[in-house]
């Protein structure tokens, strides 16, 4: 009985060693597959102590575009680079920088692309002008029609 137990034990140990080697192989190849070999930046997932500052940072982060995953804001994205951008935003807000100054800092580096906040510029002015013109045209048409009806 005892011998069988002993005979089984090494086999079990062998299986354990195999499992350990298997897990180790996984652990070794993970850094190549995942970008998360470093822990996230300190303020990637940690909120600021001051709730007012955190609210300002959150509002700004929701209007900044993630550069790796371009349909998400950096507040929504789990990409490591978005985490590093959140860290930038939170540490700058904590240092007393204005949210719009931080946005300007990023726009200086990546262009309007990085910002979700609509801005009137040389290329975007028709987006603002066309609806205004349409409303004006409708009001004009309405006014003329009402005037005609009153006359009739």
């Amino acid at each position: 009985m005892a011998t069988r137990c002993w005979a089984e034990a090494p086999a079990f140990a062998g299986a354990r060693a195999y499992l350990a080697a298997f897990l180790l192989a996984f652990a070794l190849c993970l850094p190549a597959a995942a970008q998360q070999s470093l822990p996230p930046a300190p303020y990637a997932y940690r909120q600021l102590e001051d709730p007012r500052q955190e609210a300002a940072a959150q509002a700004l982060m929701e209007t900044l575009r993630c550069l790796k995953c371009q349909s998400q804001s950096i507040a929504d994205s789990d990409a490591p680079m978005a985490g590093d951008m959140r860290h930038q935003v939170r540490t700058r807000i904590a240092a007393g920088e204005e949210p719009e100054a931080i946005r300007a800092w990023l726009v200086q580096r990546y262009g309007d692309y990085v910002s979700y906040a609509p801005a009137v510029s040389e290329t975007t002015w028709p987006l603002f002008a066309v609806p205004a013109l349409l409303v004006l045209a409708v009001l004009l048409a309405l006014w003329r029609r009402l005037r005609l009806r009153r006359r009739a």
Binding site: P31, A32, A33, A34, Q35, S37, L38, A41, L67, K68, Q70, P80, M81, D84, M85, H87, Q88, L106, V107, Q108, R109, Y110, G111, Y113, V114
Partner: protein, 175 residues
């Protein structure tokens, strides 16, 4: 029915057509840096590898143009561009590396396997330099002139056909 009653419908159809066409077009994922012509931001990075010094912005202001390679050991295209970086080095280019979010042991393993074309490698653990120069991915290669100004940005891995262009940009930066 008057003909101009059809105008709104025609406009709507036009809008649908444009939207449908745009949906079939491949999306350009590259976001070019708008820092070309600007000086490098201030930074001072610890060494990412044991046998190479770290990197600061002051190092670039020695009169010699350099290539600044943004890379990482976890980045697969970086493996593909390693032989081209080696060719650039052999052609006389000085290449300095910025390793994004990387551990020393991973950096050492990568360099041992795929070669080390870098004179210095700084570790950018918070992507500060990457954000500071308007880089949005790995790998990217910047040409920096001898006064520390950003001259040119190459997005994506450096392939054989890009080597002459990068050497040309380095020469231009020298003049």
């Amino acid at each position: 029915m008057r003909w101009w009653w059809w105008i709104p419908l025609a406009l709507f159809a036009l809008f649908l057509g444009v939207a449908a066409y745009q949906l079939t077009q491949p999306k350009d994922e590259f976001i070019p840096s708008t820092m070309i012509g600007e000086p490098l931001p201030e930074f001072d990075l610890r060494p990412a590898a044991a046998d190479r010094p770290g990197l600061s912005d002051a190092y670039f202001r020695d009169g010699t143009p350099k290539l600044l390679n943004i890379w990482a050991s976890w980045c697969v295209p970086c493996i593909a561009e390693a032989p081209q970086l080696e060719r650039l080095r052999q052609s006389g280019a000085e290449i300095v590396g910025v390793a994004i979010r990387d551990r020393p042991q991973d950096v050492a393993g990568f360099l041992a396997r795929y070669g080390n074309p870098y004179s210095r490698i700084g570790a950018d653990d918070l992507s500060e330099v990457q954000l500071g120069i308007g880089s949005s991915g790995v790998p990217e290669t910047f040409v920096i002139d001898g006064q520390g100004r950003i001259i040119y940005q190459h997005i994506g891995d450096v392939r054989a056909e890009h080597v002459p262009l990068l050497l040309e940009k380095l020469r231009e930066a020298q003049d």
